[in-house]
């Protein structure tokens, strides 16, 4: 009986294919990035080894890199302190209403669309001439507020962040709703009988109960704030100036638009390191470790 579960050949056959795919498509490229990051290669032609110069330049002489990081932090903060509370409140409301299914279905629809449609649609909505947003603003009589949302430096970042929040909202809502639904009604009833008002009920009973879900959502939010790329690539490409630049997009255009492949690779490596550190830190801080529990 034990033999089945320790059969070497079976273990190898079961894991090696998946491992090979991961090694080929994920691990190998990272190693290659480390190598290319030490060069000033253009992606073609001559390959010159420059040691750690790229990394030094990124850290000391590249304001765009730091600006991109800052934008990711802003996005993470907006996600955590605006999107998540709204999602939580709505999820809580949905657990109380009868016809929640239709609402949940509608709220999740943006999340299943392709990023190309979502981004280009919102670019159209934000268009200063024919876009939906300015038309609504005009109709409401606030014409002085109709601006070029994506090209105006003071509104560009917030517009882009709004797209990302709109796109990801369904996921946050779903996580919180699922978490809230695992809580049996008796717990709530008992708290109410003990005299808890709504605020106490939520802060002392509900939120602690679904804290694991909140932790999971926070980790996902932090990491995905860092990883944003397609929305930028398909809308502003970082413009105006660096206002809407994010790291993943920056490294992409450095390599494919400016032919600074070596430099772009160095950014990639730093990006992976930052992502790894963030993952470990947020998992450590929130004391969750689904990777090791077996």
């Amino acid at each position: 009986m034990h033999a089945v579960f320790t059969n070497r050949k079976a273990i190898v056959a079961l894991t090696v294919p998946a491992l090979l795919v991961m090694l080929f498509a994920i691990v190998a490229p990272i190693l290659l990035s480390i190598y290319y990051g030490l060069t000033s290669w253009a992606g073609f032609g001559k390959l010159t080894f420059v040691g750690l110069r790229n990394y030094r330049d990124i850290i000391t002489a590249d304001p765009t890199f730091w600006h991109s990081l800052a934008n990711a932090v802003i996005l993470a903060l907006v996600t955590i302190f605006i999107q998540n509370p709204v999602a939580f409140v709505i999820a809580a409301a949905l657990t109380k209403v009868k016809r929640s299914r239709i609402f949940r279905t509608i709220y999740f629809i943006p999340a299943i669309l392709t990023v190309v449609v979502v981004t280009r649609l919102w670019v159209s909505i934000f268009n200063p001439n024919y876009g939906l947003l300015n038309k609504v603003i005009h109709a409401l009589g606030f014409s002085q507020f109709s601006v070029a949302w994506l090209s105006n430096p003071s509104t560009a970042l917030w517009s882009v962040i709004f797209i990302m929040i709109w796109y990801g909202f369904g996921w946050a809502l779903l996580f919180y709703y699922s978490g809230l639904m695992t809580m049996s009604p008796e717990i709530e009833e008992a708290a109410v009988i003990d005299g808890a008002n709504r605020w106490q009920l939520y802060t002392r009973v509900v939120i602690p109960y679904i804290f694991p879900v909140i932790q999971a959502v926070l980790i996902i939010d932090v990491i995905s704030s860092l990883k944003q790329m397609e929305v930028i690539y398909l809308s502003t490409n970082g413009a105006p100036g660096d206002a809407t630049q994010f790291i993943a997009n920056y490294l992409y255009i450095k390599a494919f638009m400016y032919s600074q492949y070596g430099y772009g690779s160095a950014i990639s490596v730093m990006f992976v390191v930052i992502a790894l550190i963030l993952t470990l830190v947020t998992r450590g801080l929130t004391n969750r470790n689904p990777g090791v529990e077996l």
């Binding site: 579960f5 490229p29 709505i90 209403v97 669309l113 449609v117 909505i125 779903l174 992409y252």
Partner: protein, 268 residues
Amino acid sequence: MLIYSFLIVFALLQIFPLIWLFDFSLVKSGQLFGPEILKIPDPPQWGNFVRAWTDGNIPRYFLNSVIVVGGSVLGATFLSFCAAYATTRMIWKLRVVVYNIFLLGMVVPIQTTLLPNFIWFRLFGLYDTRIGLIIPYIAFNLAFNTLMFTGMMRSIPRSVEESAYLDGANMTMLLGRIVAPMVAPAIATVSIMTFLNGWNEFIMANTFLASESLRTLPFAVIRFEGQYSSDYAIQFACMALVAIPPILLYFVFSRWIMAGVTAGAVKS
């Protein structure tokens, strides 16, 4: 009552962009510049959709998406099923290490592999091929899928497998006839999530494919903007066409999608 109005307002916020999209995809292009927020298409310009379909090369892009995404669903589901079983049920020294290697896939950002894979895949003749897109799609779905299967497998008592073995089953029969049916919900969830990820994926398809004949569906929208840069109604029609398959799939399979997300957050 107040709750309902709040929920309805919010629902509108989520869905109104799509309504606007479908509405103006049915009008004559120039009418987008009018002041109306919504316009009743009179008459509805179905021709926009026809032109988006043919000029936007949608059938070919659709077919490519089906091939690439279908391949990655099959591959990712099968490979992660096997890997999850080995790291959950089998007893061996490196079990935890390998499990964590698989989970690493969730940490690595896709964009950091774009640059090197662009060169690396070329070496193997995988650039500008469908299989060259299927492989990374599988790779990046392995982490989540393995997590899903692991969660489900851990909740199944070993006794069923053990008695099957006593009855003479070998590993293949054990996995195929006993374990797989028991984790059928996870198989469904994993397949659908992998499908959605691949169907909506853009940047890898954009980087690893060059030929028009191989591009996937999200690209139809991009192509259209170059070609018909001033015909907004047709662009809208194209976006609407690309948006419809996931929406349909969602309405049919919403339960599995919700289950997948739930399991991901709540179970672990």
